[in-house]
């Protein structure tokens, strides 16, 4: 990156990440192409509805982004989403349950996240393996839980309010939840030493350790936060669908990774901004929505979805030539 510093550019241009700019340009292009098909794609109602749908993926992808920033990955996301949804549905009844449903669901996700973090940070197991294993364990618990007896799987009023209500007229609560998560993440990443350590670990954990940071604790907490974010996403999804279902999280793993990477974050860690993740989330949500509105059959949607991701990565996600 030293060569960019030498060439004097206007400060604004220098600060804009080309990957993020491309991602936003692609969003505009998508809406533009969509508007030829139907004027509705530019209507505020449609855009607001998309923001609402995007906010579930946005919350989930926030956790994934942190894991990717430290150069790891969290494959336990699908069943953490389900755990969050099912556990909060399970306790969300009665006066006490109503108050504790949402925190309880998130705490379950955090707990499994701590197991992930412990495995990665202290046992030095590759994150891809340990998160796969905890995913299987979480799935096992949920299968036993739902199969042994008929659980209460309907969402509590609080969860439904969080996902579908309007605290501010015209602005869905789900979007507010995403905004809150986004604000917290941005402050953490840019204004705290914890955030600085996250970027550092992604670049070279050894160097950060030698500078006196307890890197293992940072990794532990990153996975805990990631687990909590997945579970919170699950809570919102359960509120949106007004019930929790098995394998409801399966459809979110690949889009979450794709959103983070499309937003310009390096899968190897250490590079990426939250704005990029927002762009990636919006891009994927819009792409899925436009493809389904155009009534393209499921197989065509999958193919176009895959091709678009490859093409966009070829535009700006390439690594440097190894020399």
């Amino acid at each position: 990156m030293s060569d960019t510093a030498v060439i004097a550019k206007p400060s604004l241009l220098r600060r804009v990440d080309p990957a993020v700019a491309t991602a936003f340009a692609c969003i505009v292009a998508l809406l533009f192409v969509g508007s030829f098909y139907s004027r509705n794609f530019l209507s505020p109602e449609y855009l607001l509805q998309q923001m609402k749908v995007a906010s579930f993926l946005g919350v989930i992808a926030s956790g994934m982004m942190l894991a990717i920033l430290i150069g790891q990955i969290d494959l336990s996301l699908p069943w953490l989403v389900t755990v969050g949804a099912m556990m909060s549905c399970a306790v969300g009844h009665g006066p006490w349950g109503a108050a504790f449903a949402v925190p309880f669901g998130i705490l379950c996700g955090v707990a499994i996240g701590f197991v992930n973090g412990f495995g990665v940070a202290y046992l030095r197991i590759p994150s891809m393996i340990i998160t796969l294993a905890t995913n299987a364990v979480a799935q096992g618990f949920m299968v036993v839980y739902t199969g042994g007896f008929s659980p209460r799987d309907s969402a509590s009023p609080v969860m439904r309010y969080l996902a579908t209500g309007f605290a501010i007229p015209g602005l869905p609560n789900a979007v507010l939840c995403w905004a809150a998560v986004a604000l917290a993440t941005v402050i953490m990443l840019t204004r705290t030493t914890f955030g600085r350590a996250i970027y550092g670990i992604g670049n070279r954990e050894r160097a950060v350790y030698l500078s006196g940071v307890d890197t293992r604790r940072v990794v532990l907490f990153v996975f805990a936060i990631s687990g909590g974010a997945s579970a919170f996403g699950g809570v919102l999804l359960a509120g949106y669908a007004s019930k929790a279902a098995q394998s409801m999280g399966d459809a979110y793993l690949l889009p979450a990774i794709a959103a983070v990477v499309l937003g310009g974050a390096s899968i190897l860690g250490g590079r990426g901004t939250y704005l990029g993740t927002v762009a990636g989330v919006l891009l994927i949500t819009l792409l899925q929505s436009i493809l389904s509105v155009m009534q393209i059959p499921e197989f065509g949607r999958q193919i176009i979805y895959g091709l678009v991701i490859i093409c966009m990565l070829l535009l700006y996600g390439r690594e440097r030539v190894s020399r």
Binding site: I125, M128, Q139, V143, F299
Partner: protein
């Protein structure tokens, strides 16, 4: 003496996988009501070879320090294709089999080209190609259906001389025809070299591109063989997203149990095969102990968690704390 020691330490992961499998399978047979009989072995082998083929496919890519998250989808795609074209007269069936294998290899080759020339990270590139392959599978089989040449299917899933499961023979044949030639060739050694250090491999003039390309292509081919066998077992093609995904994730688990390092450069496809067989046996163990099948996923998960945590024992030998951070 020292040469033997060197060989043993290189094959440690594979040998450990074989040991795990033998122990698991012995426990399984000892507690099975029918004991160690031909039928038990045949059922176990038919269940195990599918994952074994997919795990082999995964291991080839993992050795070059890549990862292929599309193996499950190639497996699904070839399953759907086989249910459409592997049928009819012997010559037509033969052509169909070849076409299915060619499509598998082609899918792998596309992955390879994108990773080598597109310079994308394998993990994200194969997520995207996996979506494309799954889309193609759905286009072929919007609903489960199709059929397959049943004579061939029964021959390959039955028993040879009434004793040996034919699927196991095919697995051995594939190892002898694909894995052994590859691992002993210059390209195969280059794949190991690329996996252990890309920079060093480049500096030594190792044919990196050819090695990676071959690894991805053969991986697609092996996943295709797996898809073909799935069709032989089920007689139908089914574009199921969940099953493709499960096979991808299980293949990673099998590869790790089989002693193939995810960082690349060590392990072997044979280890991956035994990892896959061991993983399947873990799942079946519960049945012989008369547990509620509901507990199977949890049991499988906990065993997997314990198995991967065992790898952490190596940390006890680390003297310099900086080595933690690789």
């Amino acid at each position: 003496m020292s040469e033997w020691w060197f060989w043993l330490s290189r094959q440690r992961g594979t040998l450990l996988a074989i040991t795990i499998f033998v122990v698991m399978f012995t426990i399984y047979c000892a507690n099975h009501p029918a004991g160690f009989s031909v039928n038990v072995v045949q059922t176990a082998s038919n269940k195990g070879v599918l994952l074994a083929f997919v795990a082999m496919a995964q291991s080839l890519v993992v050795i070059t320090s890549g990862i292929d998250l599309s193996v499950g989808m190639i497996f699904t795609l070839t399953n759907c294709l086989a249910s459409a074209i592997v049928i009819g007269s012997p010559s037509r069936t033969g052509l169909g089999v070849l076409a299915v294998l060619a499509v598998g290899a082609l899918c792998g080759a596309i992955n390879g080209l994108i990773v080598i020339f597109g310079r994308l990270q394998p993990i994200v590139a194969t997520i995207a190609t996996g979506a494309v392959y799954f889309g193609l599978a759905l286009a072929l089989r919007p609903t489960p259906g199709g059929s397959v040449n049943e004579t061939l299917a029964d021959a390959l899933t039955g028993r040879l001389f009434d004793v040996i499961p034919a699927s196991l023979v095919m697995l051995v044949a594939v190892v002898l025809l694909v894995w052994i030639p590859f691992s002993r060739s210059v390209t195969g050694r280059a794949a190991y070299a690329v996996g252990s250090s890309e920079t060093a491999a480049y500096m030594s003039g190792v044919p990196m591109r050819r090695a990676k390309f071959m690894a991805y292509t053969l991986s697609g081919l092996l996943a295709g063989i797996g898809g073909l066998f799935l069709t032989f077992f089920t007689y139908t093609g089914d574009a199921a997203y969940a099953s493709g995904n499960t096979y991808t994730l299980f293949s990673i688990a099998a590869v790790v149990l089989g002693g193939v390092s995810l960082f690349g450069g060590s392990g072997s496809a044979i280890g991956a095969i035994f990892g896959a067989l061991a993983f399947r046996t873990i799942g079946d163990l519960l049945f012989v102990f008369d547990f509620d099948p509901l507990w199977q996923p949890l049991f499988q998960g906990v065993v997997l968690l314990l198995a991967v945590s065992l790898g952490a024992l190596g940390l006890l030998r680390v003297k310099n704390r900086l080595e933690w951070f690789g």
